[in-house]
């Protein structure tokens, strides 16, 4: 789960980390009111889950209410494309914050290093630019250190990291403290990524976290009710939102072939095989062990709510899941939602013969059975058209 900048900053503030004062706004008027309260200059910042907002025109400094009005109006509703072509993301929300006079910009982050099975701290005196760009232009300027999984990051160790990153002596202590606290925040809040870019020193010599990119481990949300209740980004894909409400594991893709499989691995593999057959998958949907009609109705409703979908592939390898139950579920679900789109079904594994007999008996005219995964992929591509 990725947090918007302002949500990340609110998280930092709860842990006592220094962030600029700011106000969340979703209308131009609210943004102007916020600016007046904060006092000029203010930064008007688009709240979207993508980097490169500044370059895309999504961050502007307003010196007075006229400018605040003008910039808020420009930014709300604009489409932001990410540096790697991600998006576009439409801006629905702003974060208006007190302007900071930047003396120097650093980079600080804590990430889960899956490979080393430890948290890793990164620090650089070259802030404000992409971390990959820092690593590419001057690898020695990016200091990386793993965090001991039992003892955490000590103050002395953090001071050494700051020294190795050549952080100026006057602020090295404070920067080291920020590192120690960021590790504590990651552990306490189950964050697998915290990136502060830039971490600045202002004209008063204060160290301030000027940006926040935070990813929270979705498996931990049961112990973070305040994060679980955060409003969904309004830009979320409608099918993904619908699937989330129903507790389905669903990812939208840009094709026209609806996919339902059981098990994450088999489902990913199904997408690949469909693509190899020349088709374009519309989604990933792991039905898990859900073989009951209700679960299948839920899944089919989400898939068919996408107007692009012109055919559906149902790829099941029954282990614990019994294929006869799945077949009953498919028959009941297609009847109940009046599914007319072509449906290609591949049922293999436990009780597959019984399941296939049930499907044959039901005689659904839009249902096509294929014995193998590859055969099913070819069939659905043929039926989906372009």
């Amino acid at each position: 789960m990725d947090l918007l900048e302002y949500q990340g900053k609110e998280l930092f503030a709860r842990h006592g980390l220094p962030v600029p004062k700011g106000v969340h706004a979703s209308t131009v008027d609210a943004a102007v009111t916020a600016s007046e309260t904060l006092g000029y200059p203010v930064a008007v910042k688009a709240q979207v889950l993508i980097g490169g907002r500044g370059k895309a025109g999504g961050i502007k400094i307003a010196q007075d209410s006229t400018e605040a009005h003008e910039y808020a109006g420009e930014i709300i509703g604009m489409d932001i494309v990410g540096p790697h072509g991600e998006g576009p993301f439409k801006v629905h929300e702003l974060w208006v914050e007190a302007g900071s006079e930047i003396e120097s910009e650093f980079y600080a982050s804590v990430i889960l290093d899956r490979s080393a099975k430890k948290l890793m701290v990164m620090l650089s005196r070259m802030g404000g630019m992409d971390v990959e760009a820092i690593a590419a232009s001057d690898p020695e300027a990016l200091v990386k250190q793993h965090v001991d999984p039992i003892t955490g990051l000590g103050e002395d160790e953090a001071r050494q990291i700051a020294a190795r990153a050549k952080i100026p002596e006057q602020v090295a202590g404070e920067v080291a403290n920020v590192l120690v606290q960021l590790v504590e925040v990651a552990q306490a809040e189950d964050a697998t990524l915290i990136e502060v870019n830039p971490l600045i020193v202002n004209s008063d010599g204060e160290v301030i976290l000027l940006d926040a990119k935070v990813t929270i481990d979705g498996n931990s949300l049961y112990r973070h009710p305040e994060l679980e209740e955060l409003p969904e980004s309004a830009d979320q894909d409608p099918q993904e939102a619908m699937a989330r409400e129903r507790g389905l594991t669903y990812v939208s893709l840009d094709g026209n072939i609806g996919i339902l499989g059981n098990g994450a691995g088999l489902c990913m593999s199904t997408l690949d095989v469909v693509a190899q057959a020349g088709g374009r998958p519309a989604n990933f949907l792991d039905a898990g062990g859900g073989s009951k009609a209700e679960a299948i109705i839920d899944a089919l409703e989400v898939i068919t709510s996408n107007p692009e979908v012109s055919a559906i592939l149902f790829n099941i390898f029954g282990g614990i899941t019994r294929c006869d139950e799945v077949a009953r579920g498919i028959i009941e679900a297609t009847g109940k939602i009046g599914l007319e789109l072509p449906l290609v079904v591949r049922l293999d594994g436990t009780n597959s013969e019984e399941g296939l007999a049930l499907l044959a008996e039901a005689g659904l005219s839009n249902l096509h059975h294929e014995a193998t995964m590859l055969g099913a992929a070819r069939k659905v591509v043929e039926l989906a058209g372009n």
Binding site: S115, D190, N219, S220, V251, G263, G265, L266, S269, V274
Partner: protein, 291 residues
């Protein structure tokens, strides 16, 4: 031989009194696995269809001789149960539970390493040594006894490949589901090491997916340490960056963790990678025939 579990496995199931735990624990017993105990705090002294229940895993080790623990408790309590198992004196811990927070798994991973306890999972289907023992939720009917070792991040994909091998007349020494979480107790290289040393394993099928760099590390390791042939399959070529594809660990971060990169890393070290599960199984059968 076979690896990790065999006829000498004495299984204790944490969560045996729960619905899932009893269903699968008793299925494992029906398969022939020696199920010696269940553990549920506060329910010591009861039994589940004749299998005694203890309050702690350590008691099941002392009193029932358990040497392998299976964790089937809800995600909230699972890391504590794994830690308890690591301290109990069992040699192997197989954690089936899905959804354990990664911050809980970091210290647990290191604890298992430090104590020399083999941890498989979490978020895995378990381990099956056909004809000997089954610990977990792998449906044994799709696998025959044979000479191919299988190690996989995915459950259903393993069943798919196992079934294709079976239909081609081949079987398996052991099937190991290592799990789809970002932090798992045993990676590909840990299991490859065991298969290399196992005299009942002639070749290995490795099933990977997007996310992390376990496959890339395995490629290096295979080139340096593994003499037996390895065939791979990787899922997730069509997965978009930044999206979690079902498994918590199946996510492309920026440009790292792609299926393409994994395939290239493996092929660069001479490992053949099947385009589909079917093709991977076909290659395995072909290689086994030529040995």
């Amino acid at each position: 031989m076979s690896i990790i579990i065999d006829n000498d496995t004495k299984l204790v199931v944490s969560g045996l009194t729960g619905r899932e735990g009893s269903f699968h624990g008793l299925r494992n017993r029906d398969y022939g696995t020696q199920l010696v105990a269940g553990v549920t705090p506060g329910k010591g002294g009861q039994d589940v269809e004749g299998t005694p229940v203890f309050n702690t895993i350590a008691e099941s080790v002392d009193e029932a001789g358990a040497n392998t623990s299976m964790i089937f408790v809800p995600a909230k309590f699972a890391a504590a149960a794994i830690n308890e198992a690591i301290d109990s004196g069992v040699e192997t811990v197989i954690a089936i539970t899905e959804g354990i927070p990664v911050m809980d798994m970091l210290p647990t991973y290191w604890k298992a390493r430090e104590k020399g306890v083999r941890l498989i999972g979490p978020n895995c289907p378990g381990v099956l040594s056909p004809g000997k023992a089954n610990v977990g939720i792998i449906p044994a009917q799709f696998f025959d006894q044979g000479r191919i070792g299988v190690v996989s991040k995915s459950g259903t994909l393993t069943y798919q490949i196992g079934n294709e091998l079976k239909q081609a007349g081949e079987g398996n020494s052991t099937i190991v589901g290592i799990g789809g979480d970002p932090i798992v107790g045993s990676d590909f290289i840990d299991i490859l090491t065991l298969f290399e040393a196992d005299d009942e394993t002639d070749m290995i099928v490795m099933v990977g997916e997007i996310g992390g760099d376990a496959e890339e590390k395995a490629a290096e390791f295979i080139a340096a340490e593994i003499s037996k042939p390895v065939v791979a399959y990787i899922a997730g070529f069509t997965a978009p960056p930044g999206k979690q594809m079902g498994h918590a660990g199946a996510i492309i971060s920026g440009s790292s963790g792609t299926a393409q990169a994994k395939q290239e890393a493996l092929e660069a070290k001479g490992v053949r990678v099947g385009e589909s599960p079917t093709e991977a199984a076909q290659i395995a059968v072909e290689i086994l025939g030529s040995l």
